[in-house]
């Protein structure tokens, strides 16, 4: 696989089948089977939910060799049509029709979070692997059901905790693991951005998005659990007014380490992340405001609202989303465990919900040691 060049070549994947799958097509039932000569069969993906992340998924798939998006589905016919044009896939209004007609191997579920379970379960029941955006679901019962149904149906379930594919976080985790900072002690992480509900109102409804903890902080929850281990106790605080949803949570880990996480929707600045872990012999910091390797500044006329426009960026050759989705595809092909499992996604949700509960009750919430799916 081309590891360097990020140059989507749609014709290679969509209009012509991948060379490795030509001989396999006739006998294809579940096309994620390895061809007998060791080459990969083309993998067909259907996408349900043609909003922002549906588009991100589609663009990433077009850059992965041997993968084709064959169907896109959205209740909003216009959104489905636009993504169909972008991908060359067929547009559907009915998910069932898409499952029946696209011969897809896997389904990307990029819907509002409260719909994840319904569509993931339908896809699994139809024998399709599921690649679902985070959070896995909005409650543990739904998350457990998704995991159970996928297991019973013999399909894989992947959840897009993409922070595990951001190089700065991967490096931080590796350095901590190598002992570069000694024993981890106190950590911080933050994730600040404008309120997504201004453009997509479902984000403003906790019943659909889970709020900024379940939707946004869940990234850092998963990262910290990945890096610092299991969480014992959480304490959450939430300030919500108008277009501001500011959340602070302190996680106490079984190791004794402690982390304070902030998730802030309604921040009046460019999207910002920060993570830091201080240990007994050192500190590692990833400050998003200091890794803007590219700043484009343009003088702008008065109507743009100011004398200049400044766009900070941190470009890479391969986006973390592309690395994540390519990894999930590899896992489907190889049968290997992914870097982030459905169980990890379940645990991240469990912690996020405990934080939400703590913010509501004002009490610290203890997590059950070793609790897994279905144990609650």
């Amino acid at each position: 696989m081309d590891k360097i060049g990020y140059k989507p070549d749609k014709s290679r994947h969509i209009r012509k089948p991948h060379p490795g799958c030509i001989f396999a097509l006739g006998t294809l039932i579940l096309p994620s089977i390895i061809h007998e000569k060791g080459e990969w069969s083309a993998m067909k993906i259907a996408i349900v939910g043609c909003g922002g992340l549906g588009t991100v998924h589609a663009d990433c798939y077009s850059a992965i060799p041997g993968v084709a998006v064959t169907g896109v589905c959205d209740l909003d016919a216009d959104a489905a049509r636009k993504l169909a044009e972008r991908t060359g896939a067929r547009a559907f209004a009915s998910f069932e029709e898409m499952l029946a007609q696209t011969e897809c191997d896997a389904v990307s579920v990029t819907l509002p979070s409260h719909l994840h379970k319904t569509f993931a379960v339908k896809a699994a029941m139809a024998g399709k692997h599921v690649i679902c955006e985070k959070p896995i679901a909005l409650n543990l019962e739904d998350a457990a059901e998704m995991i159970r149904v996928c297991r019973e149906q013999g399909v894989r379930l992947f959840v897009g905790h993409v922070v595990r594919f951001f190089p700065e976080y991967v490096q931080m985790k590796r350095k901590v693991e190598e002992g570069a900072i000694g024993r981890p002690g106190v950590a911080h992480a933050k994730r600040f951005g404008s309120h997504p509900g201004l453009k997509r109102p479902w984000f403003k409804d906790d019943a659909c998005s889970g709020g900024a903890v379940v939707d946004l902080m869940v990234h850092d929850i998963d990262f910290m659990r990945w890096t610092l281990g299991e969480v014992q106790t959480v304490y959450g605080l939430r300030a919500r007014e108008g277009d501001v949803d500011y959340n602070s949570a302190t996680l106490l880990f079984e190791s004794g380490a402690v982390a304070n996480l902030e998730a802030y929707w309604g921040y009046a600045g460019p999207f910002t992340t920060y993570a830091e872990i201080a240990g007994s012999k050192g500190i590692i910091v990833s400050d998003g405001t200091r890794s803007r390797s590219l700043q484009i500044r343009k003088s702008s006329p008065g109507e743009a609202g100011g004398p200049f426009v400044e766009v900070p960026q941190s470009p890479g050759y391969r986006s973390p989303f592309l690395n994540e989705l390519a990894h999930f595809i590899d896992c489907i092909r190889s049968g290997e465990e992914p870097i982030v499992t459905a169980h990890d996604a379940y645990k991240a949700l469990e912690i996020a919900l405990a934080i939400t509960e703590s913010a509501r009750t004002g009490q610290a919430v203890m997590l059950q040691a070793g609790a897994g799916e279905g144990s609650r």
Binding site: I181, R183, G185, V186, H188, T233, Y235, L237, A239, E241, G242, V244, Y246, S248, T250, L252, G256, A257, V258, N260, E262, Y264, Y267, A268, G269, A278, G279, S280, K281, G282, I283, G362, Q363, A364
Partner: protein, 329 residues
Amino acid sequence: MNKLKVGMISFAHGHAFSYLNALLELPQVEVVGIADEDFSRVEAVVNRHNLPYFEDYNDLLRLTGLDAVVICSENARHAQMTIDAAHAGKHVICEKPLGISVTEMEQMIAACRDNGVQLMTAFPCRYLAAVVHAKQAVERGEIGRILAIKGTNRGTMPGRWFVDPALSGGGALLDHTVHVMDLMNWFTGSKVTEVYAYAATLFHEGLQVDDAGMIHVKFENGVFGVLDTSWSRSKSFPTWGDVTMEIIGTKGSITVDGFAQKNDLYSDDIGKGQHLFWGDSMDLKMIESFVNALLEGAPAPVSGIDGLRSAEVALAGYESVRLGRPVKL
């Protein structure tokens, strides 16, 4: 010019050196003596500035014409020294934390009040230029109403008496809650009603006090605050620590990074990068403000009550750590 005559009691806390420099810089101040039972601690400054030295601070307090004292002793000795100074009729500026128990802090405040002297808690962070401007921006309503404040006051493990609970009264949670908690009290104009804290010894094995702390407070007006108080800055870190606040309002936010005004020095002689602060001295501004208030007969700009309101939060924090749940104040 009517000069204010100031004496200093104890250099146990290193801030005393900075406060002395501030006093020496102010033309309206005359430093009349230094008291410290450990002469070696003050020998250099006593000789350099040719200052009268007292082994027993009570001898300093008996000096005629002495107006005020600066107390920088071990935390556990603040109360006795402050009360003695009050009885001698001297105004006091006392290093933070004001005391190590609510009862003794109340006694300090009462003694000063009863003897008609001012008691100021040394909270220099109120005099960081960025903090002063942030306060003004909040007062102008630039970020609407405050909803929450996230702060950090990280530092380096100070060693010495700071890690002896009998002299310090606590570890990082006490040492580093008080500065930013005072700022939170000041900015919100409200009172802490509930505290939830975590404290542990995570960075320095075998320490008798906590060196890691995360404290959470709820204010009467609904605002909440979170503060990292840890002595978590490693030897390899380019500076001693920080004072930061992120103030989240209904119409925006303000980020204060009190010591961001720095140059980065990379010197082979030192072997690690260093942050060199070049901003205005908060200690000078604080001492000047104390001195001028006394000369004008005005109340101390930061009171003993302010010191109590901040330290009692840290003390409640320890109670919360012991119980493992939030405690009411």
